[in-house]
Amino acid sequence: MSIPVLKVRNLVKEFGHFKAVSGLTFDVEDHQILGLLGPNGAGKTTTLRMLSGFIPATQGDIFIAGHSMRDDSLKARRQIGYLPESVPLYREMRVTEFLNFIAGLRGLSRCELKEDRERLLEHLGLVRVAKQLIGKLSKGYRQRVGLAQALIGSPKLVLLDEPTSGLDPEQTVEIRNLISKIKETSCVIMSTHILSEVEKVADRVLIMSEGAIVASGSPVDLNKRLTMGRNFRLGIRGDEKQILEILNSVPEVVSVQRQNEHNGIFYYHVQTQQSEEIQPKLAQVLVRSGLKLVELTEDEVNLEEIFLKLVRDERKAVPV
């Protein structure tokens, strides 16, 4: 098992009486993309700001490549590349000049700087605009420059706060692909409230609500662990009464809902208990009774449903 690049232990952040983050504990290993998911105000940005060293934690500690953010912030920050949500850049600088500035402050030698800068310009498709003023670039290019500054010096941990926010669909896909490539050299934490993004990019997901972690695991694991049962769409030709009788006779079936009827085919939404064998069992029972099974597909419960469920449960649990 590899050693975690990031260790977060009982992280708490309070602003006066308001607890923005409460008791976060998690690890991130090398070459892993962790998606930090949560609604607005869940504490994602505050968490990233603490991880980046911009604001100190009220309690707990962060260890980056073994360096404590509390006791040795400078060494810990040397291992971090950070892109805040607003993609702040010095608009009056040229792209190369900006990257030189950041690399210089990260302590890269002139030789390392040149090599790393050229590699990133090439890798992020910035060669064409390398000499241009940042303020004159399109939003998509500015986002790439933001990523380039976060990656220069090959930091062990890359923190990205809502990296695709405000981009058009084409730019979003480009940035998403670039993020996938980053994990070849570093580990990445990206916060987002866009669920599809996490599903596509992240190896692990950490769902936050009201400053606390409400679930964590891979998107697939979360699906398995948190869905209470399985959902199927069935298309059956035959007598409606008989269909309902047969479906309800299966012990694992929890509910049957008729959706529509088209050309003599009745479509149903069937919810069952969690069981590996339920899909062939349903097919077998229906076919043996002489009904014509036209469709039997499982509805994938997506991360969005899990997320909404968790957030709703969390809110219910907290007395108002």
Binding site: K75, R77, E92
Partner: protein, 258 residues
């Protein structure tokens, strides 16, 4: 040290990229040159009148006193207006654009950021006031006589005063993300600290006389006359140090903000 140098040079480059440096330098030098020419013309007129007066005693004032001391005080007054503009960008712009978050999460210490920004503004100030050394040279080559000790003492005073002005400006800019608010607040604070020495002349404010010790003008007056008093030098160094430290505290106060 290397990181201070990187921030310093980048700040200077940015000031020149945005043309603010050129505009400030040009206008400041133009106005200070006008002061110089006006004071020389005034001196020339007075000395001619003096000489034309039959039986007048030897002149009780000289070129150094009338032109230079006057010039140093006038330029100091001019700096009162220019320093808020010079320093308003320091942290305001970083705060407004969000780059402060980027800068402070790099492996840089807060004091390195503060010093880098202070030194770059101070360099611009030096460039603005450098002609103060050139004007006496001009007179010197034209055959006039200057007491060079007074010139250097006056220039030292101008630099110390500038350091004090800039440290206050940098501090004020760390409090807000609005450049207009920053420059107005800085100007207001400087004017108060400039005029506070006047309290001594009002018997009604007798109990507040001690405050005149903090007057930026009172400590400058003797330096402008060529009198180098260690107390004045210490005052400006302490003043600048105090506000740079306050800037550091202001940056650290981000822990309290959401």
């Amino acid at each position: 040290m290397k990181r201070i140098a990187i921030i310093y040079s980048q700040e200077l480059k940015n000031a020149f990229h945005s043309y603010i440096a050129y505009i400030l330098l040009a206008v400041f030098i133009a106005i200070s040159s006008y002061f110089f020419v006006a004071l020389v013309a005034q001196f020339s007129m007075i000395s001619q009148q003096w000489k034309a007066t039959p039986g007048a005693p030897e002149m009780a004032f000289n070129l150094t006193e009338l032109v230079l001391t006057g010039l140093f005080v006038n330029v100091a007054g001019l700096a009162l207006f220019f320093t808020p503009v010079l320093t308003m960008r320091s942290f305001c712009e970083e705060k407004r654009s969000g780059t402060l978050e980027l800068l402070l999460t790099l492996p840089v210490r807060d004091y390195e950021v503060v010093l880098g920004k202070f030194l770059s503004s101070f360099t611009l100030y030096i460039l603005m006031t450098l002609p103060l050394l050139f004007y006496p040279l001009l007179i010197h080559y034209a055959g006039g006589y200057f007491e060079w000790g007074t010139v250097f003492a006056g220039y030292l005073g101008t630099l110390l005063l500038g350091a004090a002005f800039i440290s206050l400006g940098v501090f004020v800019s760390s409090l807000t993300s609005n450049q207009v608010i920053s420059s107005v607040l800085c100007f207001g604070a400087l004017v108060i600290l400039w005029m506070i020495g006047g309290l001594e002349s009002f018997p009604e404010f007798y109990t507040l006389r001690w405050m005149s010790n903090f007057s930026l003008l009172e400590h400058f007056k003797s330096l402008a006359k060529g009198i180098v008093d260690l107390r004045d030098i210490c005052f400006y160094i302490f003043f600048a140090g105090f506000f740079l430290y306050a800037t550091l505290l202001s940056l650290e106060s981000r822990v309290l903000k959401r």
